[in-house]
């Protein structure tokens, strides 16, 4: 028995679920209703965002609102849609079935939006319909009689323009009703299905004790969506009943799903004929005219490349200023503590472990915020779907979806926001493949390493900048080509299965709402800090520990790092990395790079400059060039520089990315797989480069 707090009678907060098609303005409405009183989390076991907010009715009573993922139908095609159905039907263990529903419709796209609405109204819960974007509908010359629609469907209908906060008071008023009646189904089931449905509802009521109000929609779901049958804990008798009915229909060649969809649309058409007027379909509206430019074979590309350029530039350069402020801020703070605290391990733990870890998390924030700002803007305006439309052909060559493009582009800045941006991809396999290859796109953390290695490779002053830029470009191209190669390979092998299907709405263009873009940006970034932050912090402290212990004796000649676990690790991996041309000192750099790749540069400067007992701090490059193997040959030959660059292009060396992939895929399997396939191919590629180079006499 569970002794529960529910035993104490208390006023239960009414819960509303907000449901609607994608692009119907549901999130804008959610923001208008709840303001900043929102919590974003995940549904357990899946990476679908769970958004819950709090609001107050006009009488001041608290109301809880769940913003469900956008769905076209309650027969789900993506994990998002499955969550929407499961919450609405009370099929999730940890989320209570909502008490009431607010179903949001895009008034300018009434017919298709009403399809989901008829499914929602079948659920038998008190429901309010919101006709959103009335302004857009009217601009199209489309008029809807809300009172007539309310009479037809038997539920309150509120007209809204959520983006302008019009109709919010009226909606709040409707949400504060006392004892609202449950919705009643108005459309008629195809006659041939009625006996079977009656039989199944009777069975579900007696055997599975399903409440009378929602037994109809549940029975209909089992008959029209065979996948739903396996997920539900149905009694064996009900399962038999379903199979029998299924058999009967199949013998007659009758498709239940088709019949039900046709019946719904037939009903919708009748309702629309009575309540809506106008909307001459053939006059091109603003969206049509914009599209003829934005998806134009020439202008479309020009604008697309321009926009991507601006986005990339902002992530790469603009976000770099706040990034540097954060870095220098944390460095100053660490210095402050170093000066004011007594020398010791505690001080070092705080400055080199904890502070470095927190800084390591926050340092990603400017890029993540910038990227999410752009993504929010692209989504809000409706351009995102066009970008996918333009890029789909290219991406489909390697078996991916047009929507994989933005995450991959973003990964040039940083794989973390890129991986988080894959949430817009519905197909789980496409999403996983995109996550797996995204870190191969050269991120900005590799840039300092590339710069250092190119400088070491071409140390002369007179080398033209163009040549250096050319090498840099080649490194980026190499990473990108490898990413596409592995995407293709994974789609051919691991993620085999159905050829990708694209059924993507191109929503009308809209003026973006800045508050909603900002709100989305903040809530997504919060999730990153909360989820990835803890892992990054923990691992930073671990890496500090490895570098700080065991202590070198005070009289010891070699530096602390060489004595430490990290140093020992570097030495112990030397036999493995020697075939790539790397010595144990580079090994320490490789290991420390796991905190973040750019750490390689600072580690190398510690390894070399500290060891150099002279007070003159030579530029790192010059020290590296003087570095010799025990037999007197130079360590950083051009071949080793190239081998090292190849390694950095391909290797997975970022705990933050591993942490995020772990969060996004909900298992350790995929981040570990990624670690091994990327680092493995890095090892192989470097080995081939170095050994072939040696054979050729370099």
């Amino acid at each position: 028995m569970t002794s529960s707090v529910n035993a104490v009678p208390q006023a239960r907060v009414t819960t509303f679920a907000l449901v609607g098609n994608p692009n119907c303005g549901k999130t804008t409405l959610f923001n208008a209703l709840t303001g900043m009183r929102q919590m974003v989390g995940n549904y357990p076991g899946v990476t679908v965002e769970k958004k819950v907010g709090e609001m107050f009715s006009l009488h001041g009573e608290p109301i809880q609102v769940i913003d469900l993922p956008g769905a076209y139908s309650l027969s789900p095609r993506s994990p998002d849609e499955a969550i929407t159905r499961d919450v609405l039907m009370g099929r999730l263990a940890d989320t209570r079935q909502p008490d009431q529903i607010v179903c949001v419709l895009d008034a300018s796209n009434l017919e298709r939006n009403l399809f989901l609405a008829t499914q929602v109204l079948d659920l038998g819960l008190p429901t309010i319909l919101v006709l959103n974007m009335m302004d857009l509908a009217e601009a199209k010359g489309f008029r809807v009689d809300t009172a007539a629609l309310s009479r037809e469907l038997g539920v309150p209908v509120v007209a809204c323009q959520a983006s302008h906060k019009v109709g919010i008071i009226e909606l709040k008023q409707a949400m504060g009703r006392n004892h609202p009646p449950p919705s009643v189904r108005q459309w008629r089931v195809p006659g041939s299905m009625e006996p079977g449905l009656a039989e199944l509802t009777a069975c579900l009521t007696t055997e599975n004790k399903i409440a009378r109000s929602r037994v109809f929609s549940e029975a209909l779901m089992y008959l029209t969506d065979d996948k739903s049958r396996n997920e539900a804990g149905l009694s064996s008798r009900c399962q038999r009943v379903i199979e029998e009915i299924d058999q009967r229909f199949r013998q007659k060649g009758f498709d239940c799903h088709e019949a039900v969809v046709t019946a719904r649309y037939h009903y919708i058409q009748e309702v629309c004929d009575r309540v809506a007027r106008g909307g001459a379909a053939n006059t091109p509206d603003i969206s049509d005219r914009l599209d003829s430019v934005l998806t134009h074979p020439i202008w479309g590309w020009a604008i697309f490349l321009g926009l991507m350029g601006v986005m990339f530039f902002s992530i790469f350069t603009l976000a770099n200023y706040p990034k540097e402020w954060i870095e220098s801020g944390f460095a100053a703070l660490a210095n402050q503590i170093k000066n004011s605290m007594a020398v010791g391990d505690l001080r070092d733990l705080i400055t080199d472990g904890a502070l470095a870890g927190v800084g390591g998390v926050l340092v990603f924030l400017p890029q993540i915020l910038t990227l999410f700002f752009f993504i929010g803007l692209l989504e809000d305006t409706g351009y995102m779907a066009r970008a996918a439309f333009i890029m789909d052909r290219l991406m489909s060559r390697v078996g991916l979806h047009g929507k994989s493009f933005i995450p991959m582009l973003s990964s040039y800045a940083c794989a973390i926001p890129g991986i988080m941006a894959t949430r817009t991809i519905e197909n789980p396999k496409d999403r996983l493949v995109t996550i797996l290859v995204a870190p191969l796109m050269s991120c900005s953390a590799r840039l300092p390493v590339y710069t250092l290695m190119i400088a070491t490779l071409l140390p002369e002053q007179k080398v033209p900048a163009l040549q250096k830029a050319g090498i840099m470009m080649a490194l980026y191209l190499f990473g990108t080509a490898t990413a596409f190669f592995f995407a293709w390979l994974f789609k051919k092998t691991l993620m085999r299965g159905e050829t990708p299907v694209l059924i993507m709405e191109l929503p009308p263009y809209r003026r973006p709402s800045l508050p909603s873009v900002l709100m989305q940006m903040i809530s997504r970034s919060k999730l990153f800090v909360k989820r990835a932050g803890t892992v990054i912090l923990g691992l930073s402290i671990l890496l500090w520990f490895l570098a700080a212990y065991p202590k070198a004796g005070s009289g010891s000649a070699s530096p602390q790092l060489a004595q430490s676990f990290a140093g020992k690790l570097g030495r112990s991996i030397e036999p493995i990395i020697k075939p790539l041309g790397f010595d144990w000192k580079i090994g320490i750099g490789l290991i420390s790079s796991f905190a973040a790749r750019e750490v390689f540069v600072s580690t190398m400067s510690i390894v070399y400059n500290v060891e150099d007992s002279s007070d003159v701090t030579l530029p790192l490059r010059d020290t590296m060039l003087k570095e010799k193997w025990p037999d007197g040959t130079a360590v950083f030959t051009p071949l080793v520089c190239i081998s090292l660059m190849v390694f950095y292009v391909l290797a997975m060396q970022c705990v933050s990315t591993i942490a995020v992939v772990r969060r996004e895929t909900n298992s350790w399997r995929w981040p570990l797989f990624q670690l091994f396939y990327m680092t493995g191919s890095a090892y192989l590629a470097s080995l081939i480069v170095y050994q072939t180079g040696r054979l050729l006499g370099f």
């Binding site: 076209y72 095609r77 017919e111 046709t262 909307g279 599209d291 789909d392 009308p508």
Partner: protein, 79 residues
Amino acid sequence: MSSVRPLSQVPPGAEAQIRGFDPLCQEPHRLREMGLLPGTTIKLVRWAPLGDPLEVKVRGYHLSLRKAQADHIEVIYSD
């Protein structure tokens, strides 16, 4: 003259009536739920700049499908 042909054979800018999906059509359920039913008017708006996917207008909204799917949607087109 009206003829039955795959949606992918409708000239850009022209309208046709959906007749049905052939057995090779993927995800016919979702296409129906999106309002693509026998008798529905569908307009092929344009092809993407790279020649795939295509954009259609149906029930007043725009939808993007790949040629591989449009090949299996039968329409009645009268020229």
